[in-house]
């Protein structure tokens, strides 16, 4: 699903150069649930941004779903990001002036999808996260856990192959965090690859595999072991998940 080889990323200012990633190499198989841990400033988020095609990098190779993305134009990278990747952020990153429905609609808009198809996907995604009844609410009217579920629905609506989650439970209490994690596990069971950056060792333990990033390099990783639960082929989409979640 994701293959990075010797990727290096340097942040430069007038005075200093910071090596955020140094010859970073990682392979993530389709259907895997990977937890990325490490101390603050180790390069976890930089890795996630590069994986999400949001940051360029100095050197190395990155293949996303067998497509070498290094030299792609912004339009193509944006298209790939829209089609194949879903993002979940620690601070949810919902648009405050859009209601739940319109928030989930955002990535679908950039896919130039027809209104009826968008409506179907949004409804299904919100049913999966249990917020179909809150479509007309704006984020300020929702709890933190509900907002994160909206963000998950937004990531899910595009039927991505890969979900990148940056501290998805970081702003939630333990009960809500558990609910969100269970939701992610359910999505992963349906075949979506998940890469989750977290500080929480408890959360990391529930992933199939852990990698630790220190000083921009992987310092330790546990080889991938297929999850015992059989996973259906990817592409069942939000409709299939809706059934599973019902």
């Amino acid at each position: 699903m994701l293959s990075m080889t010797n990727v290096s990323k340097i942040f430069r200012t007038d005075l200093i150069e910071t090596h955020a990633l140094r010859n970073f190499s990682l392979e993530v198989k389709a259907g895997e649930f990977l937890a990325v841990t490490g101390p603050s400033g180790s390069g976890k988020t930089t890795f996630l941004n590069i994986a999400g095609l949001l940051e360029p990098y100095e050197s190395g190779s990155y293949k996303l779903d067998d497509v070498e993305v290094t030299d792609l134009s912004d339009d193509v990278r944006s298209g790939l990001r829209n089609q194949k990747i879903g993002f979940i952020f620690q601070s949810f990153n919902l648009m405050p002036d859009l209601n739940v429905f319109d928030n989930v609609d955002v990535p679908l808009r950039y896919r130039r999808m027809k209104s009826a198809e968008r409506h179907k996907r949004i409804t299904n995604a919100l049913e999966i996260v249990g917020l179909a009844a809150r479509m007309k609410h704006v984020p300020a009217q929702l709890s933190g856990g509900q907002q994160q579920r909206v963000a998950i629905a937004r990531a899910l609506a595009g039927d991505p192959k890969l979900i990148l989650a940056d501290e998805p439970t970081g702003n939630l209490d333990s009960l809500m965090a558990r609910q969100v994690l269970e939701l992610l596990e359910k999505i992963n069971e349906m075949g979506t690859t998940i890469i989750m950056v977290t500080h929480d060792p408890e959360l990391a333990r529930r992933a199939h595999r852990n990698v630790q990033v220190v000083d921009g390099q992987i310092s330790d990783f546990k080889p991938y072991e297929p999850h015992p639960t059989p996973t259906p082929a990817h592409g069942a989409g939000v409709g299939a998940l809706a059934t599973a979640g019902a």
């Binding site: 941004n49 949001l54 990278r77 944006s78 990001r81 601070s91 955002v106 950039y110």
Partner: protein
């Protein structure tokens, strides 16, 4: 996607109504000032002769003081008016297809049947070709003929306004009116006619009102009708009678000729030079040979109908618009950068730089459209106010300012173009912003 960008723009306005209003007002202010100035400028710089501009010519011959040029600003220029003798001599030429000599006079008009109170009518003393040459439209009747010029016959043409005042606007052809107690028969009544500027008589003011009556030129000499327009003299002469004035070197008369071919134009230039050379033999025209034959554009330019301060005002107005736009750029930049985290999230969700650019440019365009509409309305109000309050006192040009839909559309188009131009940089900046840097701080 345009509909989506439009929807996002409207949401953005609702989110920041104050800032949006400020941007709309900044553009509106600049546009309204431009519109008022542009309208004034267009009124002053129009050429109502249209296609005939290149075949109508005003001769200018240098009969002026040998020790001082006629025009202080440009010493190479010759006078814009003619002496009576020269006007008559030019009128005698057989080269032009049409020819006119004229001057501005006036006097009291009344009707013998006392149906009209005595009233002053500004009167153009002219020759028969005037009406055809300047394409003057008639409501009733028509022009007098060359025979009436030679007579002169007691005939005249009234303007629509003159006919309204003398005869209540009815068809007055064949009726008589007394001009300085002499009876004249009405042979024509003009329809609405407002050449702007009044290019055939810029010496007396390019934005002056048109005359109420038109009388054959020769009546001026018969009735000893002096000029009611500009008269300039340079020579110390004893002028103790009307005839002495006509024989003097004072200039008060204007001539126009219609020359339809290049050959005729060349021949007429030659005629002017030969005439002056001939006159020099009689002790006139003491200055070096310095004759001009201006077409309408050239004539308006030579007489600085569009004055330098008018051009400067136009430049200032557009400079003011530029200042307003620079402010708008600043406001847009602040607004867009403030919304950068939202753009970062959109990028993460699949929007390309191009999407973000067009989204924000659409927002700029909507602000500009609103600014243009509001500015256009403000401009119309401004023009109305100028006409209503200051037109008669400040500037002759403003009196006739048109409520011109074309100007309104031009200004709205300028606003949209300018607003989009103002939005280009902020939209580009927000499109180039690195999304990753905003995702943690949203």
């Amino acid at each position: 996607m345009f509909a989506y960008y439009l929807e996002l723009a409207l949401r953005s306005f609702k989110r920041n109504p104050g800032l949006t209003a400020l941007m709309v007002f900044a553009i509106a202010l600049g546009i309204s000032v431009c519109m008022i100035t542009l309208t004034t400028y267009r009124a002053a710089s129009a050429n109502p002769a249209g296609d005939r501009s290149s075949i109508l010519f005003a001769p200018s011959i240098d009969s002026w003081d040998p020790n001082q040029s006629y025009d202080d600003r440009d010493k190479t220029l010759a006078p814009t008016m003619l002496t009576y003798r020269d006007a008559r001599a030019l009128y005698a030429s057989g080269i032009p297809d049409r020819k006119v000599i004229m001057y501005k006079s006036g006097g009291t008009y009344r009707r013998a049947d006392k149906g009209m109170a005595p009233q002053y009518f500004a009167t153009r003393m002219t020759t028969a070709d005037f009406f055809a040459m300047f394409e003057v439209p008639f409501l009733y009747g028509g022009a007098w003929d060359a025979k009436a010029d030679a007579g002169p016959d007691p005939v005249l043409v009234l303007s629509k306004k003159g006919n309204q005042e003398a005869f209540g606007g009815v068809n007055s052809i064949g009726k008589t009116v007394l001009f300085k107690n002499r009876e004249f028969r009405v042979v024509g009544v003009l329809d609405d006619w407002e050449p702007m500027p009044k290019y055939f008589d810029v010496s007396n003011g390019a934005f002056q009102d048109l005359e109420d009556a038109y009388v054959p030129f020769s009546w001026g000499q018969v009735m000893e009708l002096g000029s009611h327009g500009n008269t300039n003299c340079w020579k110390t002469e004893v002028i103790d009678s009307f005839q002495a004035f006509l024989n003097s070197e004072c200039i008060s008369f204007e001539a126009w000729v219609e020359l339809r071919t290049a050959e005729k134009q060349r021949a007429y230039r030659e005629f002017l030079d030969n005439y002056v050379v001939e006159q020099k033999k009689h002790g006139r025209f003491p200055r070096p040979l310095n004759n001009y034959l201006y077409d309408v554009d050239g004539w308006l330019e030579r007489n600085q109908v569009v004055q330098d301060d008018n051009k400067a005002m136009l430049t200032m107005a557009f400079a003011f618009l530029a200042v307003c736009l620079v402010n708008t750029v600043g406001l847009l930049l602040a607004k867009f950068l403030n919304a950068a985290p939202s753009a970062g999230v959109r990028r993460a969700l699949g929007a390309s730089r191009r999407d973000i650019f067009w989204q924000h440019l659409t927002e700029s365009g909507v602000v500009a459209l609103a600014g243009g509409m509001v500015g256009g309305l403000l401009g119309l109000c401004g023009i109305w106010a100028l006409r209503a309050w200051y037109g008669r006192f400040v500037d002759e040009a403003t009196r006739a300012l048109p409520f011109d839909e074309a100007n309104f559309l031009i200004c709205v188009a300028i606003a949209i173009a300018a607003g989009i131009a103002a939005g280009l940089y902020p939209a580009w900046r927000i499109g180039r912003a690195a999304p990753a840097s905003y995702l943690k701080v949203q």
